[in-house]
Amino acid sequence: MTTEHDLEEGRRNVREEMAPTGIGPSGFIPSSEGEFESASHAEPKAHSQWALFRRRFLRHRVAVFSIFVLLFLVIVCFGANYFAPFKNTDQDLLLGPVQPNGTHWFGTDELGRDQLSRILYAGQISLKIGFAVAIISTVVGTAVGAIAGYFGKATDQALMRITDLFLIVPSIAILAMALQLWGHTDSVIILVLAGLFWMYVARVVRGEVLSLKEKEFIEAARAAGASPTRIIVRHIIPNIFGSIMVNTTLGVAGAIIAESTLSFLGFGVQPPQTSWGSMLSDAEGYVGTSKAYLIYAPGIMILITVLAVNFIGDGLRDAFDPQSEKH
């Protein structure tokens, strides 16, 4: 896919350069042989795939901005020891709950804990779970999806039937049951979420591999004696890298929301650890009271993080596949 688009782009570059002079060596080649044209003459001005990708991504302003937002969040959360105004566990029982003010920007809870500091520390857990789940499920899902798509038959059937089963039972129910069974530590939450999410990646990758493996360049590689491993790793994966990356960002967003939902219901992160979801679970009872300010900040953090990740995903999709920009 990508190669075709790049040829397209290369051809356009050539045309633009040729336009002012009007006469060029390409005039001797029939225009229907466009691929020839670009292959032979775009070479001096050829951009690497990476440069083309970067240029298209940078054009997506919101996505670029989102990267900075996400970086900022990661830095302040994981650097909470330096940035947080108070310690994570600092309580001030005499102070009790106070509205947001100059000292406590987001107010304090009933134990007098500073909300801003708690949010930064809680962000470590939420972000860690989000990224870890996305990375694990991408790696596993890509491997299984590529194998199922390339070799077909039994692996393929098994994968599709298992994912079908998971589509008919609400995932949040399965996740909650699994966590209740295996415990609630970070690593268990990460593994359980990844255990569900990899299947979605695998389905997408499988679909792409199915259509890609019929292409001529794969056939050529096979004829040249390349081993299946080499074909998958060197020829197939680079070509579907775009949709894999987009799926990874979807995974980050999905995992952060799933974790917060499970923690909100009480099946996720357990005290003394806190995530944004479990902070909202603590604050649920204050809705409609004078302490309602406790429900805003953690939710806004989830919203901003997921929005930023989704925008980055959009930017990546447009950059990898310029045709998707249409709508």
């Binding site: 008919i168 039972v169 909650a176 917060s260 997921v306 989704n310 709508h327």
Partner: protein
């Protein structure tokens, strides 16, 4: 059509059976139905309990026994309340069916309307507004939306306008002592249905917009316009019907997610439906209820998928269901 429906129903039976077996296995392996007997001082209690649930037999035999009872309408007894699981499910199901019905209705109408509007007024202020809102709706955890909705749509107006009662209630589906489908019911229903559907509306309306844009640029639409068919008629009669087809597929796939959303919605708004039942059962480790719950949910989702497939054929006569 009838042959298709019966064939699909027959096909879904093994799917449900396999799913039921795996779920049964999973719950049996995870939750001990004899947990309470273990706490008892009577040393024979555990072994008696194991005999009662036939836990010493292979899991396939246990499942066969459970299935035999289940098809006769006996789903066992709850560990927590000693009630029959079947009557618990029936009670809970009534609330859930109401939420699902209104949820699907509201989200289908709203998302189709928003999607069509955004598509025919592409790049208008309205389109940009709905696009921005749908991005936020997709990025927001639904439970947080529920909390905000209570704060700003129920409690907020009550304090701002000094009302005795809020316009919208957020506990249960009826006021105490009230029943029936009336204004009281509607005032209880708005917030839960909104919470249940917000994410779905955001997703479906984006999808409907894209598929509407696709259809609107098709040749036959231009032909219809060129023939002098009024724009409104082209949109409603020619474009919308075709643009609905992909949406129906997405709807069918999302029904499972809708059931998941019920868990959150019913928890926040204290509605004693299937979602609440699941949380209570899971917290108490109530194995018989969990098994029955997961299987019944799976059957519902399969059923809705079947309905969607039939609708598919109704919408698009080119798809022949044989």
């Amino acid at each position: 059509m009838l042959t298709y429906i019966s064939r699909r129903t027959l096909y879904s039976i093994p799917v449900i059976l396999i799913a039921a077996f795996l779920l049964f296995w999973f719950v049996r392996a995870s939750f001990d139905p004899c947990a309470r007997a273990r706490a008892s001082k009577d040393v024979t209690a555990v072994s008696r309990c194991r005999d009662e649930f036939h836990l010493n037999e292979p899991v396939t035999t246990q499942f066969g026994r459970w299935l035999g009872d289940a098809v006769q309408g006996d789903l066992g007894q709850s560990e927590r309340t000693n009630d029959s699981v079947q009557s618990m499910l029936q009670r809970a199901m009534w609330f859930t069916v109401q939420l699902i019905f209104w949820g699907i209705l509201v989200s289908a109408i709203l998302s189709i309307a928003l999607g069509v509007y955004s598509a025919i007024r592409q790049y208008s202020i309205g389109d940009y507004t709905f696009t921005a809102l749908s991005f936020i709706g997709l990025a927001m955890p639904p439970f947080w939306f529920g909390l905000l909705a209570i704060q700003f749509l129920a409690v907020g107006p009550k304090t701002w306008f000094h009302l005795d009662q809020p316009w919208l209630y957020f506990v249960g589906l009826h006021g105490s002592g009230k029943t029936g489908f009336n204004l009281d019911y509607a005032r209880h229903l708005v917030l839960p249905v909104l919470t249940l559907t917000v994410q779905i509306i955001a997703e479906w309306s984006r999808f409907q917009r894209a598929s509407m844009l696709d259809v609107m640029s098709a040749d036959y639409i231009r032909t219809a316009r060129a023939k002098g068919v009024p724009r409104r008629k082209v949109v409603v009669k020619h474009a919308l019907r075709n643009a609905l087809i992909p949406l129906v597929t997405v709807m069918a796939l999302d029904i499972g997610a809708l059931f998941g959303g019920l868990i959150i919605t019913e928890e926040i708004f204290s509605i004693p439906g299937m979602g609440r039942l699941f949380i209570d059962a899971l917290t108490a480790g109530d194995a018989p209820v969990l098994v029955a719950w997961t299987v019944v949910t799976a059957i519902f989702v399969v059923l809705f998928n079947l309905i969607a497939d039939v609708l598919y054929g109704v919408l698009d006569p080119r798809i022949r269901l044989t």
